[in-house]
């Protein structure tokens, strides 16, 4: 851990409805880095993302999450967001009746801790809509309501761009996208790369990594990181599949 460490996850155990999903996950993301966390279905990828954001159903039973050096276990999701954590959801929730414009305004107010002048807000939105190739009429639609998979992912990226987080966690943002949407989304993510920002890409496939080259790749199997390496690890995964990565010998409870 260095003073650049944005996120330090240390021996994290997480249960959902009494079932342990993460079984000692350890991971460090420094500012300026892009990490890819890859793993098969059921390995605990989404559990980590929900847990980082503070979903009430996910219980940390042991281990710690430090963000900017502080334990965030007690912070509600909105405080985590205000401190600069962002999660792009795999399955974003629809909020019928709430326009994207109202939603983004409330979000920006929450993250900044104060009102945002209308003019500045409009300008900010306009810039990001343009760079993501989204029409302005999008703003008057209801949040994720009746959206296609691609529209939902674009909205996640738009939110990320507007809220400009320090740590962005993207949960399977590539799933369900056609190639054009994938390119747009990848461009949006690449645009966020900066020396101050850390990005954690959670993905099942190597596909997204054709467009975003990660600094580090981790393989998650059965609730633990079983291998870490550079971008070449993703290619190895692509060739061998997850079958090639066995989980390490279980640590017996007596040894803990």
């Amino acid at each position: 851990m260095t003073n650049k460490s944005l996120l330090v996850v240390n021996d994290l155990h997480v249960s959902v409805e009494g079932k342990e999903i993460l079984k000692g996950l350890t991971l460090t993301v420094n500012a300026g880095e892009v990490h890819a966390l890859m793993g098969p279905n059921g390995s605990g990828k989404s559990t980590l993302s929900f847990c980082l954001m503070g979903h009430p159903k996910y219980h940390v039973t042991s281990g710690r999450i430090l963000y900017k050096g502080k334990d965030i276990a007690e912070l509600p999701p909105n405080k985590r967001a205000a401190s600069g954590i962002f999660l792009a959801f795999q399955y974003p929730t629809a909020i019928p009746g709430v326009t994207i414009a109202n939603f983004l305004r409330a979000a920006l107010r929450g993250v900044r801790g104060g009102d945002v002048p209308v003019k500045e807000f409009r300008q900010l939105i306009k810039t990001h809509l343009k760079s993501l190739g989204i029409s302005e009429s999008f703003m008057s639609r209801y949040v994720n309501d009746g959206f296609s998979g691609g529209e939902k992912k674009r909205l996640e990226i738009l939110q990320m761009a507007v809220l400009s987080p320090s740590l962005a966690v993207l949960d399977e943002t590539d799933s369900g996208l056609d190639i054009d949407a994938l390119k747009t989304v990848a461009a949006g993510i690449n645009a966020l790369r900066s020396p101050e920002r850390g990005i954690l890409l959670i993905t099942h496939y190597q596909r997204l990594l054709n467009y975003i080259t990660p600094d580090h790749v981790h393989v998650l199997v059965n609730g633990r990181v079983v291998r870490s390496g550079g971008p070449e690890l993703a290619h190895e995964l692509e060739a061998k599949g997850y079958e090639g990565f066995r989980e390490p010998e279980p640590v017996t409870s007596a040894a803990v």
Binding site: G54, P77, A81, T93, I95, V98, L108, G110, Y142, L163
Partner: protein, 442 residues
């Protein structure tokens, strides 16, 4: 009090034709003859109808009882001003605030209409088709109505500006009021009508000014009837806005009858009252008639709202799509019974019904009961209902974007209401409704 002598007095005061008075007497006789609705009837089981019986300690607030309207009451003050470019007609306890001058629409008091256009108006008074239970209560309105309006759009008129009619009722404790509104829209015409009903406690009768506090929490009773007749190929957007006082008990019989090719978009919004039992009937008597029906109930405090809707398809190729939503806080209670009736002749009819209840407090209650009577083949009919609290996943999603829980929940509730607010085709009123509903959330 609620007898023939009162009817004679009303007839003299309203200077109505003898046939109207005759219908009043017949209605009273009918009322006296009918039994009160029995709790074995699913539509009536959950509301104590004796609370709607004016003979239990109420007095008629007839035209002789014109009383001060507290114009400084903020709800009244706000409601009697135009909100935008609408054509506005305001009634204060059964009299015009000023004689309305409207374009494309005739509006008059019913007694006057009964004299001038008996052939048009008479069928309303005589129209039936009510259940015995409905008639038990509606006959009281027919017998004692006194605040009557007839709104008429002649045939082939497109009324461009929305028409907003505000009925302000100021009631003292234990008064009973019987407003009656008839709306006729001629063939091929098009109109948007916003019909607002609000009641406020009357200032004290003796020695006080308008600013005096209202008398105790004693109830007043409002038994209303609204009849909407839509001639062939006419298109109507009708909004009823109920803002009755927290001491009001309400019975409403509201019916729309659609001739062939007529279309109706209707939104009924309930923001007030203590107890409310309403029957909202949409009847399709001509082919190709169609309707979209929306409802919103905002329940708070000890409010009891019992709503019954009827989608009555009597003709082929008709369509109805109904959506009633309720957001319930405090100890409020909502009962919804929705009947879809499709007659044997009403082939190739589509009828949908949905009732969604958002529970904002552990003490609020909602019950929802769909009822289907389908006698025709080859029809599409669906119904759905839900009762539940704010979805935690929605709250989490909003919170994950930096929005505090209380604000996130407010957004979800306002989002729940918004599709209904959108059905009020007059933006300044939409804004007012959003502010009003949000301001009353806690």
């Amino acid at each position: 009090m609620f007898d023939g002598a009162t009817i004679d007095q009303l007839a003299r005061q309203l200077k109505e034709p003898a046939w109207v008075t005759d219908i009043r007497r017949k209605a009273l006789a009918k009322h006296q003859q009918l039994p009160w609705p029995h709790p074995s009837d699913d539509v009536w089981r959950r509301t104590d109808v004796s609370l709607l019986d004016p003979s239990r300690g109420f007095v008629l607030a007839g035209p002789a009882l014109l009383q001060a309207i507290p114009l400084n009451n903020p709800v009244v003050a706000r409601s009697i001003q135009p909100l935008g470019n609408e054509q506005l007609a305001v009634r204060l306890n059964g009299a015009w605030l000023e004689e309305p001058r409207l374009r494309g629409v005739d509006i008059s008091e019913l007694a006057q209409a009964a004299r001038q256009h008996p052939q048009v108006v008479r069928p309303f008074f005589e129209s039936n088709g009510l259940t015995a239970a409905e008639e038990k209560l509606t006959s009281l309105n027919t017998a004692f109505h006194h605040d009557d309006v007839w709104i008429h759009v002649p045939r082939d008129v497109a009324v461009e500006q929305p028409l907003r009619v505000v009925h302000v009722l100021s009631a003292s404790a234990r008064q009973a009021l019987f407003p009656l509104t008839l709306i006729t829209v001629g063939a091929g015409s098009r109109v948007t009508l916003i019909d607002e009903y609000l009641s406020v406690p009357a200032p004290r009768m003796h020695g006080g000014g308008a600013g005096d506090p209202p008398e105790s929490g004693e109830p007043h009773l409002i038994n209303s009837r609204i009849e909407l007749v839509i001639e062939p190929n006419a298109s109507v957007h009708y909004v009823r806005l109920q803002r009755l006082a927290p001491t009001a008990r309400e019975f409403l019989f509201q019916r729309a009858v659609l001739a062939s090719g007529a279309t109706l978009t209707m939104a009924n919004l309930y923001l007030g009252g203590l107890l409310s039992k309403t029957h909202i009937v949409t009847k399709f008597v001509g082919e190709q008639a169609s309707s979209k029906l929306y409802g919103f109930v905002f329940g708070h405090h000890d409010q009891h709202v019992d709503q019954h809707t009827v989608q009555d398809h009597q003709a082929a190729h008709t369509a109805s799509d109904l959506q009633v939503k309720a957001a319930l806080q405090d100890q409020s209670r909502m009962i919804y019974t929705g009947l879809i009736r499709i007659a044997k002749e009403a082939k190739q009819t589509n009828a949908y019904q949905a009732n969604h209840n958002l529970m904002l407090s552990k003490d609020a209650q909602a019950e929802t009961i769909p009822m289907l009577e389908i006698l025709a083949d080859d029809v599409q009919c669906k119904h759905g209902a839900s009762v539940g609290p704010i979805d935690e996943e929605q709250t989490f999603y909003l919170m994950s974007r930096g929005i505090a829980r209380s604000i996130a929940e407010r957004l979800v509730v306002m989002g729940f209401v918004e599709p209904i607010v959108q059905q009020v085709p007059f933006e300044p009123l939409q804004e007012q409704l959003r502010r009003e509903i949000e301001g009353n959330l806690h």
